[in-house]
Symmetry: C2
Subunit: 332 residues, 2 copies
Amino acid sequence: MKKLINAPENVVKEALAGMAIAHADLIDVHFDPDYIVRKGAPHNKVGVISGGGSGHEPMHGGFVGYGMLDAACPGAVFTSPVPDQMLAATKAVNGGKGVLHIVKNYTGDVMNFEMAAELAAAEGIEVASVVTNDDVAVENSTWTAGRRGVGVTVLLEKIVGAAAEAGADLATCKAIAERVNANGRSMGMALTPCTVPQAGKPGFELAEDEMEVGIGIHGEPGRRREKLAPARDIAEMLAGPILEDLPFKSGDAVLAFVNGMGGTPLIELYVMYNELARILKDRNITIARSLVGSYITSLEMAGVSFTLLRLDDEMIKLWDAPVHTPALRWGM
Amino acid sequence: MKKLINAPENVVKEALAGMAIAHADLIDVHFDPDYIVRKGAPHNKVGVISGGGSGHEPMHGGFVGYGMLDAACPGAVFTSPVPDQMLAATKAVNGGKGVLHIVKNYTGDVMNFEMAAELAAAEGIEVASVVTNDDVAVENSTWTAGRRGVGVTVLLEKIVGAAAEAGADLATCKAIAERVNANGRSMGMALTPCTVPQAGKPGFELAEDEMEVGIGIHGEPGRRREKLAPARDIAEMLAGPILEDLPFKSGDAVLAFVNGMGGTPLIELYVMYNELARILKDRNITIARSLVGSYITSLEMAGVSFTLLRLDDEMIKLWDAPVHTPALRWGM
């Protein structure tokens, strides 16, 4: 196992410690229970929090800051955080206007966020939740009942974070979040596996001439294992199911998000973006906004995912609103 | 060779095409000769350009935009661009106040930028050049006479770009660039090699328990091949030679830049940042500014480099100034 770490059991805490120093102007890191919280919390607004297993950086901790998340709860690598973390984070960000939980659809995350929401409610905090489930690759999976939550989560956290920052109330934030999830679809693939530090060996294997199409962000199986193919064919394999599922139609305006899985160089992401842009142009779908980079990752896995979000004017306005987090920043 | 590409010989052009669409608000891409140029060029200021082999993305094309570069010339992967590219870019950004060439110290780059500068001068364009050579790992290397130019180049492009944007003249821009280069030092290491697409196989090999310390950004040999070590030991191996070289002293304020080589997940970069912060604290060196991410890469190589830049007040002000490029953005 080749990793820049000290001991496998300390990776998450040490990375959090590094984040705390590197971004001391934006965030505070609380340990035991572990959560990352926006500087100066609680703010006079709806609190927006998320969380999930570590190993997907910069998601979610890298999205804590002005205009996005108020807190993030990192679990062990590829392991749900525990309710104590979500409860502590919920209390830390509650400014009296309620707290929205953004939950990716994985069984452990959903269960633990639900428990935290009940505990918070028992303490008089109003909590609403949204569950993302945008991955069109599989209907059920090793880790989920129903579809997995993937790339749309990043976009949703930005858009809803902007709404909360602008003063939207909890019901409005929840409604916008549900609209974003309903209008977004994703699918990913991998060229190589990844290794959970405490496991010490890859979670699966791929031959030198193989790739996994429809893979999940924990390396869980996708639709099928295939022979390696050119970028243009891979782009079709990912974009096709996404476009058919919603379905996206001629005349739609979308946010096109090409995401690296952690070990993918940027030059390849731009090659893939070029292919996606061609596919969308052929279908008369306009790319109104773009995001290219590694934002929801699977440790050092090499691969790519596409996310398309059908935009309306309000979503565009909220996407464009200022944001200042470790991983996404503009307008300030 | 596992890559998200179509044909090896088309990778650079297709990635440039993707960038052109993804960042159409910021840049234009010109083909044959290939260069990326800031929207609306020339601007009424000193033009700042750079260039070098591709495979180091986002450097340099990702740094074209307001407050940083006016143009970038991408060569083939790990191959210097040709003088025609630099000449065309120089002419495209020349607003009558002269053009600064930022050149990393590699033999091909230096030679071709010199030739382009002479050709531009013959057409009446005032050109000044700065050569970065911040890599303390080796005094000479496969690809250079003298030290290699690495991470400081990123910081220098930001700082000098801000100076040019603020109206500094060519001599002032060159002087600031030289001051940044003189006060910055870097060193890197790799856990895994990388494969140039047209070569089809890794440029070197590393056993499962080996790493290369002091490696260059093309995979060229470093100081030594060693057994894998914990993050804290690797941090000492990189920071030690950097700190001794300038030397950095108790009381210095630095910009600490922890850079991923392309295939390194962010969680590991934060573990390494945490180690670097500890080392600096022990020596009473203050981290005044930070940058953590993959900004000067070697395709899919897994590894890390440290860059430390000793800051003065003017450098801090220029670092903090607004920038809007595909890869670095703040203040706007």
